[in-house]
């Protein structure tokens, strides 16, 4: 009983803890985040873009929190950034009706991606 309660309290924390393996699948997927469209990523099996920097070694240049924030809203660090704000829905203009109020990625997906990127050292 007591253990059940403890588990229930911990669940939200677990739910958001990033899963690096799921993040890896997401990063290398053809659609989802579309990371490969702009970034080279170690382990990719399809042609990668070069609009953004290669993500090789990104885990030694940024910690997991910074990675999460960069994915969520890169404009916080660089107002001119070309990187879409994957976790922001406010301050956008002329969003197609079906995407309004919805972020490009869920919080869980962003956590998973950050966890994966942190492993790239």
């Amino acid at each position: 009983m007591k253990r059940g309660l403890l588990l229930a309290c911990l669940l939200p924390a677990f739910a958001f803890a990033g899963n690096a393996e799921r993040g890896r699948e997401l990063a290398l997927a053809r659609i989802d985040g579309g990371c490969l469209l702009c970034h080279a990523i170690p382990g990719a099996e399809r042609p990668a873009g070069n609009i953004g920097p290669s993500l090789a070694g990104i885990g030694s240049r940024r910690d997991e929190r910074q990675l999460r924030e960069q994915i969520r809203d890169a404009s916080r660090f660089n107002p001119e950034t070309v990187m879409p704000p994957y976790g922001r829905t406010d301050g956008l203009y002329s969003v197609a009706p079906r995407y309004r109020g919805k972020p490009l990625l869920s919080e869980q997906q962003i956590e998973d991606l950050a966890a994966f990127l942190a492993t790239l050292r």
């Binding site: 042609p47 609009i51 070309v82 879409p84 956008l92 197609a96």
Partner: protein, 227 residues
């Protein structure tokens, strides 16, 4: 050749315009260059037939249209009018129908090889300019983020072009048919998860007008072949 390749990689502001042709494969350029193999010619034939049926009465031989497309879109009574809109004033045809695309492309082809020479003032093009540089959609990107700041770089396996419209209406391999510049603009807007302005809307036409000003230095390539 080496200089052209270098230019592709020195991408920042638009010091020099580069046609979409330069970003396609040699095979696609070869298709475009041959009036026998260019798939857009099927639409041109349809347009030529329509011209004979519907237009010769007033306009005579199509050669009277030489240079017209190089100057479109135009501004009349404060509104932007594209070549398609001008044709639709006289001939009732649906947007993106084979008939309208054919007739538009047939008229535009009369300017093939001529320099794009839009006569609108900077002020008239300012609405389109603002739209071009405005971030929009769920991806929060402006046209300029890809086609001005990053052309020549790779988006996945593709090379980003400058997004020049001098070949439209164009046969696009992705569409397996001819399509208008408005359709191409809508495809980009769809890609950044933005609202899609209707065909013939001022939003699209203002953008077309700005693109025509921006294409100064290029020549009309209709019917171009694109990826």
């Amino acid at each position: 050749m080496i200089r052209a390749a270098l230019l592709l990689f020195v991408s920042s502001a638009l010091a020099q315009p580069h046609s979409g042709s330069e970003f396609t494969s040699a095979e696609i350029r070869r298709l475009q260059a041959s009036d026998i193999e260019n798939p857009g010619m099927l639409w041109i034939d349809r347009g030529a037939q329509l011209w004979r049926e519907r237009c010769t009465g007033c306009h005579g031989d199509v050669s009277s249209m030489r240079g017209v497309a190089a100057r479109y879109p135009k501004v009349a009574n404060g509104k932007v009018v594209g070549l398609e809109e001008k044709i639709r004033e006289k001939v009732s045809l649906d947007y993106e129908s084979d008939e309208l695309l054919g007739l538009t492309a047939y008229v535009a082809m009369q300017s093939r090889g001529m320099p794009v020479a839009n006569e609108a003032t900077e002020e008239q093009a300012s609405a389109g300019r603002s739209a071009y540089y405005r971030r929009r959609g769920q991806m929060n990107l402006s046209c300029a983020h890809c086609h001005e700041a990053n052309w020549g770089k790779h988006l996945g396996g593709e090379t980003l072009s400058q997004g020049q419209g001098n070949g439209y209406p164009a046969y696009r391999l992705e569409w397996q048919k001819m399509g208008s510049l408005q359709r191409r603009l809508r495809a980009c807007l769809f890609g950044v998860h933005a609202e899609l302005p209707p065909f013939g809307s001022q939003t699209l036409l203002e953008l077309e007008l700005f693109l025509a000003k921006r294409a100064s230095g290029l020549t009309v390539e209709t019917p171009a072949v694109r990826r």
